[in-house]
Symmetry: C2
DNA sequence: TAAATTTGTAACCATTCAGTTACATTTTAA
DNA sequence: TTAAAATGTAACTGAATGGTTACAAATTTA
């Protein structure tokens, strides 16, 4: 079973959980309520995130609170960042691309 | 079938292919030779990368040459980058972390 | 103390994934 | 023109993935 940061962020629900935990520390149930899937399904996602070090879980009474550990996303960040100069060469400029991306988003969503 | 950049880079072989194609444009066979898995397996990986826009494939005679399109990694980059300020807050500094990471690598490998 | 709450996990299921071998197609070379 | 080379793809396989329901354990509350 592969269990690394890249596999952790491959799933959209897990990326969503990361986004949510970026702003707040929440209990397992509080997280599960935000999704359509069952609580055990979220539990599994949380376990994977924990195993990858992206979140830590601390017990408080009968509840478990999930805390993001964003520094463990750094390896993935660095890997992709390698190609930044490569893509910068191909585009007018990075900023231009971001601008295009933004106006694209406006049109499509 | 989910087919997005995050899923594309989740597989270590595909990340490896991306690394290889960062420096050169290669034919399918030339890529396959660099791995232990069969050529059809590599063909499948290339198809996934192509479908995600990370590489483009151009026919030249009976060969097909794979060209990286690194700008299509940007969405993944931006997603992870969101959390950069978050992790910067938690670490002495980003640079310090990189330093630690580097000395860690020295010790463990 | 008994009931309710919060959570983990086992057992199961369908689908996807990554790999294989076998074969077909296209193009080049002998 | 026949053989070799480069590649795609179909058919299959086993393992991983993501989901479910059912149940157990721990903790809190009534």
């Amino acid at each position: 079973m592969r269990r690394d940061v890249f596999q952790a962020i491959a799933d959209p629900i897990r990326r969503n959980i990361i986004s949510i935990l970026a702003n707040q520390t929440l209990s397992v149930n509080a997280i599960a309520e935000k999704f359509d899937v069952s609580r055990p399904a979220i539990s599994k996602h949380l376990k994977i995130l924990e195993e990858c070090g992206i979140i830590s879980i601390s017990k408080k009474g009968r509840e478990r609170y999930c805390l993001i550990q964003p520094q463990n996303l750094i390896p993935a960040f660095l890997w992709i960042e390698q190609y930044k100069n490569l893509w910068e060469d191909r585009l007018d400029s990075f900023e231009d691309y971001l601008y295009k991306l933004q106006s694209n988003t406006k049109n499509n969503e």
